[in-house]
């Protein structure tokens, strides 16, 4: 009944009704997407406000700066993970990539102490792209399920890191001041590291929203078969997603080195779980097709703020992980229930509207 504009359907009123329904569905989908991010924002405000009321000293610039520095790297990794999860895939190897890239960039500085900062960052990015390409090959060409492929490369990259580093360590003394200033320096009071992260996050967000490849990630995650039939080169797009995720992890490794100064073979071990957790808390659906960079970043912020709030509130740090875990389960459950109630409402609207 879609194309009968000249002779309206006797029972359903023809095309105008169809269009209205489409618009309604769209409006609902938009409200839903917005409400997820709004909810996260409200949660964030409540945590900050609540902690600030209990301990006024929480609301100072130093804490704000700490949150920004801590969250900058995790939020970048979460953005990369978001692209992968959107396609119904997962990248468990990011922690190992961060580790090997951080040590590699550090070694570069040991060998060439006067390396320009931009070259060091590019080197980190390049190492990450190589790691991401390996994942991309395994998943897109070798047809290895991404959970298996990236679990394997998590082991292999980390093992290679240990074999290479052999108990060694790189210290902040090997790094030029210009490089350390990436983390310690500020522009108008905002840490440079946070500015880099924000710029990249905005870029990635625009890429996902406005560009064809960005929309294709959503299409693949919503329905891989339909995406293929719609003419999307699914393999190429999936491969690209893994390369981007790897590249971000590589860059994050270089930034990690600037932030912490000391790196060894165990750097960033296990951070992949924190990253997946941030994405999930940020309403990126593990079943693919749903999620935004803004949501993922808010998810990372919520987790980062909680961990600092716990310190300020003198809660034993041993509670942090348990609270994070409970939050992840609650976030997934709330998200799914919300999505289902909206879907039900839309069905009712369709049937009775």
């Amino acid at each position: 009944m879609m194309g009968h504009s000249t002779s309206p359907h006797p029972l359903h009123g023809g095309e105008p009704r169809v269009q209205r329904r489409g618009a309604l569905a769209l409006a609902f989908a938009q409200t839903l997407a917005k409400s997820r991010e709004t909810t996260l924002f409200v949660v964030l405000v409540i945590i900050v406000g609540g902690t600030g009321l209990a301990k006024p000293e929480f609301l100072n610039l130093q804490n704000l700066r700490d949150v920004l520095l801590n969250v900058a790297i995790v939020s970048l990794l979460t953005a990369g993970m978001t692209i992968v999860i959107l396609m119904r895939h997962i990248d468990l190897s990011v922690g190992s990539t961060v580790g090997i890239s951080a040590y590699a960039v550090g070694s570069l500085y040991v060998a060439f102490p006067h390396l320009p900062v931009i070259v060091a960052l590019a080197a980190g990015l390049g190492i990450g792209m190589i790691a991401g390409s390996i994942n991309a090959l395994l998943v897109a060409v070798g047809r290895v399920p991404s959970l298996v492929a990236t679990l394997a490369t998590l082991y292999i990259f980390r093992g290679a890191d240990y074999a290479w580093v052999h108990g060694g360590q790189i210290n902040a003394t090997s790094l030029p001041d210009a490089y350390s200033r990436l983390a310690t320096g500020t522009v108008l009071g905002v840490p440079v590291l946070a500015l880099i992260a924000v710029a990249l996050l905005v870029g990635l967000s625009v890429y996902l929203k406005q560009f064809r490849p960005g929309r294709e990630y959503y299409a693949i995650g919503s329905n891989p078969e339909a995406a293929r039939l719609a003419g999307i080169n699914v393999e190429r797009r999936v491969a690209m997603g893994f390369v981007i995720s790897g590249a971000i992890a590589g860059l994050a490794g270089a930034l990690w080195l600037a932030r912490f100064g000391t790196v060894d073979a165990s750097t960033a071990k296990g951070i992949e779980l924190q990253v997946v957790a941030a994405a999930v808390v940020g309403s990126v659906a593990i079943t693919g097709g749903v999620g935004t960079i803004l949501g993922a970043t808010l998810g990372a912020l919520v987790l980062g703020v909680i961990s600092i709030a716990l310190v300020v509130l003198h809660v034993s740090p041993f509670w942090e992980q348990a609270i994070q875990g409970a939050l992840i389960v609650a976030a997934i459950a709330a998200d799914t229930l919300l999505a289902r109630s909206v879907a039900k409402r839309m069905m009712r609207k369709r049937d009775h509207g």
């Binding site: 959970l147 240990y162 957790a277 041993f318 348990a322 389960v329």
Partner: protein, 340 residues
Amino acid sequence: MVKPASKPDSALLTRRAGLPLDWETLLVVILALSLGAGRLLSDVFLTGENLANVLADLTEVALMALPMTLIIVAAEIDLSVASVLGASSALLGVLWHMGVPMPLAMALVMVAGALAGLFNGLVIVKLNLPSLAVTIGTLALFRGLAYVLLGDRAVADFPPAYTAFGMNTLGSTFIPLPFLIVAACAVAFTLLLQATAFGRSLYAIGANSTAAAFSGIDVAKIKLRLFVLSGAMSALAGIVYTLRFTSARGDNGEGFELSVIAAVLFGGVSIFGGRGSMYGVLLSLLIVGILKNALTLADVSSETLTIVTGALLLASVLIPNLAARWRTLREKRALARAAN
């Protein structure tokens, strides 16, 4: 070629790949090769004492891999197993310090583990959520509870009668006592998966859970039982780990979930569910244990060894995939030639 009708499940993977033997047979060959490699790498490899080490070291991973096999066959996953192990270990320490007698403490820990599994199962089944996401959450939650229970303290003053069980071997043989538990559980789980209606229903659920539900299988109830079983077995692993190392700590067994999943997948169980056998997983556990032991004897550090685990994991999926592709390519070429 493989006889198509006689062994449909185990042969499918390799038949599709065009390999002239099924995955389990291939694993037996690899097992023999790794035993030979171990003998070549070190003179002490084949001594009773060292073989005891091999068996003892795979205790906890094996105890958790058994229920994990059932779960993955049913197309679900449980990433929280190692965290349940840690929380169980911590709980055992706390209960013992509170003066609870060991048998009661161990029973309580098993119940707590089953409850942890029940929590996973209820969230997954009742809210119909993906198990990957839920158990990533409970991985953090249960590990967090382990730290809440014990902090960074350790409890090490368990009664010697119990810790001796963790360290001694059976009579004058080289078989470690904890391995008896593994062997008994392995037999029970093999029977459960390969010889009962429950086991067959897992394959049906994993292959197509909607179809399984329509054919009268209570999918929700079975999945719930699987997660309870996984929780209880992880608690058992936590108890054994604590006794073997005479140490209850919150961070016990951290990261073991990856080794468990790697062992199950290398055993030929499909991550998409519906395919695989317990025999394959048992062989895979032995192979991984032997290779790790042999390479450790050859002075390879345990951290570097993770490369081997990763490579085995990749090979188990990549080789059949590439072989299948190569075969279709050859068939296409043959068809083209025939057409000419």
